[in-house]
Symmetry: C2
Subunit: 223 residues, 2 copies
DNA sequence: GCTAATGTACGAACTGGTGAGTTAGTCATA
DNA sequence: TATGACTAACTCACCAGTTCGTACATTAGC
């Protein structure tokens, strides 16, 4: 997720024994491996082999495969939380703010396919690792507050007509961004269209923004 | 997917030896098992144990675990194709037709969570089984033609302003429906909202329709 | 010297796949 | 319609290779 650089080198440049470094390296490798082949498909031995340390260290630091996967998820969600905390769109008018926010979500999903895969995998496991994690239960998302405030101001100024709350709008935006990355393989194989083709990137980015804004600003038939 | 009824009973009521029946039973069980725990997580022994036949028969009929999964996918996609062939919305006006089509997609996704899981799993494997299947490569979707015709008539009558093609609109509709089912666990765990809560069903169904129609009929800023 | 950190070697249980043999059903023929 | 040859359908036991996890030994750093 973060620093997969400098892979081999017997524990890099710093101290020979560096717990934090060892832990981080295991997490880096495990993230790649779990994202690549899923939880059940990943092999602890393979993960260990790809680190500069040994399998024993995985059990020493994380306890087991299950807890390792949970730790991977925790860090991955941490990254997206950080990104969302940098969100700075509230100086824009509501329409522009929502579009910008959708675009940032779009970009983030595109830039972190491994995260998308991990989330897909965790859903296959019915979010049992999130449930087991103290760090991840009901953490929500920093973006939610931002969306909430933009929505309120947009409704106040009469620009937004739709009756959605922040969570639902977040779901709407996420669904488009997530599907495009997560399902690109089956979609491509079935319909012969690559949803993440760089040449079509702007097309889909605009489509998302248009869709969200159209929804929020449409005149509703019977209210 | 189809007939998971009458599970045990040493080959049911019909003939004692019935190849078609045995094959179908293996597929039924395998579908459930693959959807439940993923490809790597599924155990051929477990699948065999849940049938009234033996593991050897799985290899006899399908060749191996990989081909069994492919066969499961082929049948699952067959079901959705059949459903889409029943589509009968072209007698409606374009707006109503698209909304109805979106609702049918919504309903189908909701009613087939196992199919959704299989698609998620297949995407983790980068659609390699679809690629390996003769039946599934580029099959497209019957719905696509329907969407294409509705879109054309809607644009002709000036109702639809958006410049989307059928595939992209299909992606938009699918993304919402798919996300709601596929990601309900992580979304629920993180945001405390159950996207498939029956009490909210109509809410999300309407939201999808509103979204698609708003997108298609919105006045575009600069054209 | 004490402890946190690390490495080695191993094992019990599992897992996909197969070899070899058996049985149910079919059908041509007497 | 009884029979026997034939084949598709099926069972069982087993193997070779993994795979998670751990017991035990060792080392670095304070």
């Amino acid at each position: 997720m973060t620093s997969v650089d400098e892979p081999a080198r017997p524990h890099g440049n710093g101290r020979l024994r560096d717990a934090a470094r060892t832990r981080a390296e295991i997490l880096d490798v495990a993230t790649l491996e779990f994202a690549r082949v899923g939880y059940a498909g990943a092999r602890v031995d393979d993960i260990a082999a790809r680190t500069s340390t040994t399998k024993r260290m995985i059990y020493y630091y994380f306890g087991g495969k299950e807890q390792l996967f949970t730790a991977v998820l925790e860090r991955a969600y941490g990254v997206i939380r950080e990104a969302e905390q940098q969100l700075d769109v509230e100086h824009l008018d509501p329409v522009a703010a929502i579009r910008r926010l959708a675009e940032l979500t779009f970009d983030h999903h595109e830039q972190h396919p491994d995260f998308i895969r991990l989330v897909s995998i965790e859903n296959i496991h019915e979010a049992e690792h999130i449930a087991a994690s103290e760090k991840l239960g009901r953490i929500g998302s920093p973006a939610l507050d931002v969306i909430g405030r933009i929505l309120a101001s947009g409704r106040e100024s009469g620009l937004f007509t739709a009756e959605v709350d922040a969570v639902d709008l977040h779901a709407m935006i996420s669904s488009f961004c997530f599907f495009r990355v997560a399902n690109r393989h089956t979609f491509g194989a079935l319909f012969g269209r690559d949803l993440v083709d760089p040449a079509q990137r702007e097309h889909y980015r605009a489509m998302l923004g248009d869709m969200v804004i159209a929804y929020l600003t449409a005149e509703r038939a019977t209210d």
